[in-house]
């Protein structure tokens, strides 16, 4: 295994050596530089740099950087991007040319690009498929629930993204469970993306630049989760002057400050959100008045520029949720209590050193830390306790990117993650009858190395090929149980236990993860793309509830819990009208999942020291078709998308007790075959815009009772198989209006109002279906509608 790292590493760095002596014709020179916004100095990603004479073009990459190679001569460059005034720049190429281009924002430009900040024809031209970027500007146009602009919720409008229900944490991407998405906030993984059970996401919209969802043809740079990557990038701090932005909403208040601490050297961005007092619980029914529910979060970014070559960036996030529930107790800890307090927090940080070696080489090294902790406690003296669970992710990684002038863009890198998981530790209060309990901590390393090349073969064909190798190593202290052969794994069938000392490696698993994306252009503005990726996942969120709770348990792979491995093939067709005003795309995918996780009946995972006795693994299968039609220009913009997708699991083991539904294939909790989304934005002037959003999806699967028995005087439902029926279909219309200040009259203090209506026609969508037998009722069942009414909200935002 070790040899393989060396090979991979060398393979990654080899081009470095060969490129040191450029071998291209002496008459060719590099034209390179950055494209920036004139006012904000923010880099413009995906701007088109077009050489009018040679009809040669390229899009600016991350940080607005571009490289072109061209023979000696005089040319005119046309630099353009939607939303900025295109610029014509004459150049004389007779030496290596460094060129920084500043574009002016086009205030009269009313065309709204909703989904993407990329060049208008990027969807046809780029290699990757299954990638969608939502800029914060477009996210803010989507009608927000209770006025809270929400990044994770916005993703639900994209094809292939679903949720088990309104208010559930996380998203399901192309048939993946919620823990199969790596959610990154400037490279730091976020273990719980929701505040207040998932109603609102942890990403503060005031500081986010864009969110990119990779769901097919995932590049080798990313790894660690089986389904998708959500890459949320924070804005760069304002470099010129100090600015304050904020807002007042129904749920939370926001405030952010940014500016230069040391001119041209050190910039800072700091933002916070604080929820209103207890969500109006004190005004609620008497039984809820003692309920407490609050959250706050703090996001910061610091950037220090040493010189043109070195920069240091720090991103920090701290978020906390607090709940207190009267007169109840934890179901997982069997004690009697009068109230229970839940407290969960995320702390995450990334320190990134970017070394711009020269025009060709850029080295980015980052130290990443993320910690998610949940504390539940009961105050009653005789039964007092604190239950603490903790997940820690510590990572060092380094990525080297190499731009060559021969149509190759090479990237290679290494990553080392150190995981620490404390599943649950129960500490009794003084004098309490509760026994202390500490579940065994889990520790492991995840090592990964990758190399990737994006090769523009010719104007028609480009290939992005990558290879990633990941290795997972469980580290002691630990005890590994052996179960009696041929019998079901239960705590009673343990035949021996082997203990390992601190630092001892007791389990290793790993393998290659090939990635491939091919684009073939069929003409000026249409292309077909093919993608394949294999992903391995070594950390799992194990919960047998339909939606995860903040207290749900994280579990590392170990000798019993094998890593989840997906293989996905996708094929797409992309076409634009010549002016890029209208885009059409269609993608099909087929995905298999090895070691999909499900649970035994009545699994109890929270305080289980032998989780392998409750977990089952099997096969998963997902396939689908995603189609999208989008209009990017004009007063009316928007898109419609339709997705057909299915997700099935098969848990079939030799022992009858370790099968689900008798070993036959059954739909996953998040299998929702038909999804339709439509989003329209009308923007007749710069001061006003209006958005409409309609969504429809098939109801999620549920387990319906097939018979009833009368036991102890009550009717007890009898269930046969899991997930055989469905709740009614879901549909909803949202609306929002946005009033802004006249940009023609610039003022120091700017403000805007957003009025939004969620669920305009008040459809009573089923959140769940349940059964209550009542001889006087006409029906046997009931549906609970959570957002069963119209939800208006008003938000005020300001900036000065």
């Amino acid at each position: 295994m070790r040899l393989l790292y060396v090979i991979l590493f060398l393979a990654g760095f080899l081009p470095l050596g060969s490129l040191a002596q450029p071998s291209f014709p002496k008459t060719a020179y590099s034209v390179t530089g950055y494209i920036l916004d004139e006012r904000t100095k923010q880099p413009i990603v995906g701007a088109s740099v077009f050489v009018q004479e040679t009809r040669q073009g390229i899009a600016s990459g991350k940080d607005g950087f571009f490289v072109l190679s061209m023979p000696r001569g005089t040319y005119t460059l046309r630099i353009s991007h939607v939303g900025w005034i295109p610029k014509l720049q004459p150049i004389v190429v007779d030496k290596l040319l460094l060129l920084d281009v500043a574009l002016t924002e086009d205030s009269k430009y009313l065309d709204e690009v909703i989904v993407t900040s990329e060049a208008p024809d990027r969807n046809v031209r780029k290699v990757e498929l299954g990638v969608s970027t939502l800029t914060i500007k477009s996210i803010k146009r989507i009608p927000a629930f209770m006025g809270e602009v929400d990044i994770v919720r916005s993703l639900l409008l994209l094809p292939g993204v679903t949720t088990v229900g309104e208010g559930a944490t996380g998203i399901n991407v192309r048939g993946g469970s919620i823990d199969q998405n790596l959610m990154l906030l400037d490279d730091a993984p976020i273990f719980n993306s929701g505040h207040l059970f998932g109603f609102f996401s942890v990403f503060n919209p005031d500081v986010v630049r864009e969110a990119t969802l990779h769901r097919g043809g995932i590049a080798a740079t990313y790894g660690g989760r089986a389904s998708a990557i959500l890459d949320v990038k924070l804005r760069e701090p304002e470099a010129e002057k100090w600015a304050v932005t904020g807002g007042i909403g129904l749920v939370s208040n926001r405030l952010s400050v940014e500016g230069p601490l040391i001119s041209k050297k050190l910039f800072v961005l700091a933002a916070t959100r604080v929820s209103f007092n207890d969500f109006l619980f004190p005004l609620g029914p008497k039984s809820l008045r003692d309920t407490r529910a609050n959250f706050y979060d703090f996001t910061t970014k610091l950037k220090y520029l040493f010189n043109e070559h070195h920069s240091l960036t720090f991103t920090g996030y701290a978020g906390k949720d607090l709940f207190k529930l009267p007169g109840d107790s934890l179901s997982s800890v069997e004690v009697n209590a009068t109230s229970t307090e839940y407290n969960y927090r995320t702390l995450a940080g990334t320190l990134r050193w970017n070394y711009f070696i020269n025009n060709r080489f850029n080295l980015a090294t980052a130290a990443v830390w993320s910690d998610y902790q949940v504390v539940s406690s009961v105050p009653d003296p005789s039964n007092a306790f604190r239950l603490t669970a903790d997940v820690q992710h510590r990572q060092l990684k380094s990525d080297l990117s190499i731009h060559t002038s021969e149509g190759h863009q090479v990237q290679t890198g290494l990553s080392l993650i150190d995981y620490y998981v404390q599943p649950n530790r129960l500490v009794p209060g003084p004098g309490s009858n509760v026994l202390p309990l500490a579940l065994t901590t889990e520790q492991a390393y995840e090592l990964a190395a990758y190399v990737q090349d994006e090769w523009t073969v010719n104007s028609r064909l480009s290939i992005q090929a990558g290879l990633r190798y990941s290795q997972f190593m469980n580290r002691g202290p630990a005890s590994v149980r052996t179960y009696a052969e041929g019998s079901e794994r239960t705590p009673e069938t343990v035949v021996s236990t082997k203990t390992y000392n601190a630092g001892q490696i007791y389990g290793q698993v790993g393998g290659l993860e090939p990635r491939l994306a091919i684009r073939y252009s069929l003409g000026e503005s249409q292309s077909i793309k093919l993608g394949y990726n294999r992903m391995r996942q070594y950390i799992h969120l194990v919960t047998n509830t339909t939606a995860a709770l903040p207290t749900s348990r994280w579990k590392l792979s170990d000798p019993y819990i094998k890593p989840q491995i997906t293989d996905q093939v996708s094929l797409g067709y992309f076409r634009n009208t010549p002016d890029n005003a209208i885009e059409v795309s269609g993608e099909v995918y087929y995905k298999t999942l090895q070691n999909a996780i499900d649970y035994k009946d009545r699994a109890s995972l929270q305080l289980n020291n032998t989780p392998e006795t409750d977990l089952l693994q099997g096969k998963g299968q997902a396939y689908g078709l995603e189609t999208m039609l989008r209009k990017n220009k004009g007063a009316w913009t928007g898109w419609i998308s339709y997705t057909f997708s299915r997700t099935f699991l098969t848990i079939n083991n030799p022992l009858a007790g370790e099968r689900v539904n008798g070993g036959t294939m059954y739909p996953a909790n998040y299998d929702k075959p038909h999804n339709f989304n439509a989003m329209a934005v009308y923007r007749p002037s710069l001061r006003f815009s209006m958005s409409l959003n309609f969504t429809y999806s098939t109801g999620r699967p549920i387990t319906q009772p097939y018979a009833r028995a009368r036991i102890n005087g009550v009717y007890v439902p009898i269930y046969v198989n899991r997930n055989q029926e469905r709740i009614p279909d879901y549909h909803r219309l949202d609306f929002s209006m946005n009033f802004e200040q006249d940009p023609a009259k610039p003022k120091r203090f700017q403000s805007s109002w957003i009025f939004a209506i969620y669920n305009v026609y008040g459809h009573k969508n089923a959140y769940s279906v349940f059964y209550r037998l009542n001889p006087r009722a006409d029906t046997d069942g009931y549906k609970l509608s959570i957002f069963g009414t119209v939800f208006p909200s008003l938000t005020y935002n300001f900036k000065f």
Partner: protein
């Protein structure tokens, strides 16, 4: 459903004007299966076994009784007794008052041969003695949020018991309240006070919580005191003392799993934060045909019992008024019935 999930539902309900509407799902059908209910204890018998059948999960479904079956309880020491159906068609089978008696340490098996000649048998259940109830006590608590007026003021009855050192002990609690009554027959008269007739003898109304499943495992407190186990809340319906008997049953691991499943299934709302529901079949199986389903549980429980008088004189204000009954004089007395809701027999620890 965990409390967190309940909180989330509250949050949703409160924040979001949620609502519940009627909904008719497609009806599913399964063939009728036998359902067995019954327990043998280390207290004197008779013991009863109830046999019913499953039906569709609809309002219209009827759980038929399983009648004319041969029901036998046997222990591992060679004692057997065949139960008799208390009345034809009742589906309730009873041992003789002088018949089999549960003894701690023995294992018990139930055998049922139904009228269609199918033979069902339970696992052998070990009867384990229950630890004594170390303390039964009550605390006055005003609860302005209570749904019924009677419960705004009340006395919470708690139980403490010393859990044995062994792990894997499981408990279930049941209570019985006896309320002395003098009027044994009441006739409602429209627009006037009801008219009643006195009981000929002493008489008590019996109150139980038939569908309460109050169970606990010792997992969190093994070997320590299981404290402040809530048994029930005594309503402020009178200033008189309230007499309550509390029974502590020791369950087997299988029995606990079964009752926990029954409890969970009756509370599961199919919501996002509920686990996929599944049915515990219990400890019965069909030995003549492995493909035939059978549900229910035959238990063998050790029992400890005690009683409590709850003094309700410290209630604030007037108790919930029970309408007065007119008894014309003279009038013939009425015999106090002896059934599950009324008894002429003096309760075990009754003091007067």
């Amino acid at each position: 459903m965990s409390s967190l999930s309940r909180l989330s539902i509250y949050t949703l309900v409160l924040l979001l004007g949620s609502c519940i509407t009627e909904y008719q799902p497609d009806i599913k059908s399964l063939p009728r299966s036998l359902v067995v209910e019954g327990v043998i204890t280390d207290q004197p018998g008779p013991y009863t076994i109830q046999l019913t059948q499953t039906t569709d999960y609809t309002n219209a479904g009827i759980n038929l009784r399983a009648t004319n079956a041969t029901v036998t309880i046997a222990d591992n020491a060679g004692t057997t007794e065949t139960l008799t159906e208390i009345s034809p068609g009742s589906g309730v089978y009873r041992t003789k008052a002088t018949g089999i008696r549960g003894i701690a340490g023995r294992k018990y098996t139930l055998t049922v041969v139904t009228s269609d000649k199918k033979r069902y048998q339970s696992d052998a259940e070990l009867l384990t003695a229950a630890p004594a109830i170390s303390k039964l006590y009550y605390e006055y608590r005003a609860d302005p949020t209570a749904l019924t007026n009677e419960n705004v003021q009340g006395w919470d009855v708690y139980l403490d018991t010393k859990d044995p050192e062994t792990t894997g002990d499981f408990y279930r609690w049941e209570w019985t309240h006896y309320e002395p009554v003098s009027v044994c027959q009441v006739t409602e008269i429209p627009n006037a006070a009801p008219v009643g007739r006195y009981c000929c003898t002493n008489c008590w109304d019996i109150t139980r919580c038939n569908n309460c499943i109050n169970i606990k495992s010792d997992a969190a407190i093994n070997g320590n005191t299981l404290s402040r186990q809530l048994i029930t809340r005594v309503p402020f319906s009178s200033r008189n003392s309230y007499y309550i008997e509390v029974q502590q049953q020791r369950l087997s691991a299988g029995g606990y799993a079964f009752w926990q499943s029954v409890k969970g299934l009756t509370q599961n709302n199919g919501g996002l934060f509920d686990a996929a529901p599944s049915t515990v079949r219990g400890n019965m199986r069909c030995v003549s045909d492995a493909g035939t389903s059978v549900y229910g549980f035959f238990g063998a429980s050790g029992i400890s019992e005690t009683y409590l008088y709850v003094d309700r004189s410290n209630g604030v204000g007037a108790p919930t008024i029970i309408p007065a009954v007119m008894v014309p004089q003279p009038s013939a007395c009425v015999v106090c019935a002896d059934n599950t809701t009324r008894t002429p027999n003096t309760p075990r620890w009754w003091k007067q």
